[in-house]
């Protein structure tokens, strides 16, 4: 089968419709419908990823457009997992919105996609490293939206709302840590050192520290607003690490993480 990006809307739009309907159903309290619709959307979307993988003859993880593809897939996955585990009604609408944003970016700004994969990326560590990172990013995307909502509205965040943030950050951090460690092991296989303070690595470390700072602050500080601002700051660091690095003057021509 030959799948390319021209087929993307035929899969992305039905999947997105299913996720939006799932969000509506979760607000109406229809649990089975929520699960069924979310799963249907995920299945449709994953079919596209899988077919693209086969026709590219390599995992679609290299270009920015390809990582956005995984992000759009993981946002609703995280949403439905969190809904299943903690029964938060709002989470599906959050994650459907995030998925929609990334699908739109891919529709409006498709990037050049080719088949080549440079030798450093031909590694069994490649797929788990990026996929685990994208999953963590999806968690942090959800918690950032939540933090903004809590900050914008007038009344202070309640304890149980802060606990949701803590849970999302802890889960995201466990994935972020695993992604980083897989990267370190891979780097020692490919380049001969676990960590070399490459700009991408430096910003990954900054992001990691920022989220850990949030968790430590929550252990001793009653101040919720500072903690919520910290979540937004951490997400900005994550954006610099993810794509901002390409525009950062201090990183120009310095990173071996440019593909």
């Amino acid at each position: 089968m030959n799948m390319d990006w021209t087929m993307f809307p035929c899969f992305a739009l039905p999947a997105l419709t299913a996720w939006i309907l799932a969000a509506v159903m979760s607000f109406k309290g229809r649990r089975s419908w929520t699960f069924a619709l979310a799963a249907a959307g995920l299945a449709i979307f994953f079919t596209f990823i899988l077919c693209l993988w086969i026709s590219l003859d390599r995992p679609p993880l290299r270009t920015m457009g390809e990582t956005r593809l995984w992000y759009s897939f993981f946002m609703p996955s995280v949403g439905i997992l969190v809904y299943w585990r903690w029964r938060y009604k709002w989470i599906m609408s959050f994650s459907a919105l995030m998925a929609a944003v990334f699908i739109m970016v891919n529709l409006l700004k498709p990037e050049i996609h080719d088949r080549t994969l440079m030798p450093a990326l031909q590694s069994p560590w490649f797929a788990p490293h990026v996929i685990v990172y994208m999953f963590a990013y999806a968690m942090f995307g959800a918690v950032t939206l939540m933090a903004i909502c809590l900050l914008v509205r007038k009344r202070a965040a309640e304890n149980k709302e802060m606990l949701i943030c803590d849970n999302l950050v802890s889960t995201g951090l466990s994935f972020l840590t695993i992604g980083m460690l897989l990267g370190a092991i891979w780097a020692s296989q490919a380049w001969g050192s676990f960590w070399s303070w490459d700009p991408k690595e430096t910003w990954a470390f900054i992001t990691w520290l920022a989220y850990f700072l949030y968790l430590h602050m929550r252990r001793h500080s009653s101040g919720t607003r500072t903690a919520l601002y910290m979540l937004i700051f951490a997400f900005l660091c994550l954006q610099i690490c993810w794509w901002g690095i390409n525009w950062l003057p201090s990183a120009q021509g310095m990173s071996i993480h440019t593909y």
């Binding site: 029964r87 088949r115 030798p119 020692s188 252990r219 001793h220 500072t226």
Partner: protein
């Protein structure tokens, strides 16, 4: 309880360490990691945890030591480390070329272009390591099973950071370029000094395959794979033949040989292959730290998903 990000002791500690670092940077120039070369690093590996433990045992009731192992001190030390690493991320890092360290110390001031040898960075890093160690002792002795995620996360990071820092002086990276048929048992470092390596490496064969393209000009082609076949011999005896490509290094004792690059030059039939030859005796300890952190990340995930349901 406070709304503040950093409490007063955290602010005072951070400012003092940063200032002390700046003074040291002005007076004696950048940190020379080479000063920690064997046996100093092995002594520190044993001494540092021992000092932390003894301090905790003797002064454990003093407010300063109690503070050092607290969550507040953890936040403060993480926040200061974050500031230092942010500087590293925002200011282009360009270590001085080898041979320039002997310039007058004040010319390295404030040394923000090479944070790894910046005294403020190193002192803040030492504080982070101390806070980590103290927190481990405070929380994990005696060990309770519900503290397992805490133990693994903090211990793994402690081991990895310690191995990374103490291994620095012994972590050697060299480049070596060979043409087919050539062999060498010494490498030239970036200053031009020859160094002997404990084996002889001979490039027997080198192959590049390119991605198919319509373009016949090789300089525009993208390599798919490049493989060096090398023979290794130790003190005249043949050790074996290795096939080395990117992501597939050869391991010879503490040494690893990586495929770094190649140069087809004008004569594509006799390409030159470049290797990165690495010796890091601390590889194993760093890897141990990473694996402990790996287990810690899984434990954190399990612990979080077991938390009480708090439906909204």
């Amino acid at each position: 309880m406070t709304e503040k990000l950093i409490s007063r002791p955290g602010l005072i500690t951070g400012v003092s360490l940063t200032l002390a670092g700046l003074i040291l940077q002005l007076l004696i120039g950048p940190v020379r990691w080479q000063a920690l070369d064997t046996p100093v690093n092995f002594i520190l590996l044993a001494a540092f945890p021992a000092i932390l433990f003894t301090t905790y045992r003797i002064f454990g009731n003093s407010s300063a030591v109690m503070w050092l192992g607290s969550a507040r001190a953890a936040s403060a030390s993480i926040a200061w480390t974050l500031v230092m690493v942010l500087i590293m991320g925002l200011i282009r890092q360009q270590p001085l070329p080898i041979g320039f360290e002997d310039m007058p110390a004040y010319l390295h001031f404030p040394g923000l272009h090479d944070m790894r040898t910046n005294w403020s960075f190193v002192l803040i890093f030492l504080w982070l390591l101390t806070a980590l160690g103290m927190a481990l002792i405070r929380v994990c002795i005696p060990l309770k099973i519900k503290r397992i995620a805490f133990l693994l996360n903090h211990l793994g990071l402690f081991v990895a950071l310690l191995a990374g820092a103490l291994g620095t002086p012994q972590n050697r990276h060299y480049r070596l370029t060979l043409k087919e048929g050539e062999s060498s048992s010494q490498i030239i470092d970036p200053v031009g000094q020859p160094h002997a390596i404990p084996f002889t490496i001979e490039l027997k064969d080198f192959d590049v395959t390119f991605y198919e393209s319509d373009d016949y000009d090789r300089s525009n082609q993208i390599p798919k794979k490049f493989v060096s076949t090398v023979g290794i011999s130790k003190s005249g005896k043949r050790d074996g033949t290795y096939s080395i490509s990117v992501n597939h290094p050869a391991r010879i004792g503490h040494w690893r040989v990586y495929q770094y690059g190649y140069d087809t030059g004008s004569d594509p039939e006799h390409a030159a292959s470049t290797f990165e030859i690495v010796c890091n005796p601390w590889h194993g300890l760093f890897l141990t730290g990473i694996l402990i952190m790996f287990a810690g990340a899984i434990a954190l995930f399990v612990q979080t998903s077991k938390r009480k349901e708090t439906a909204v």
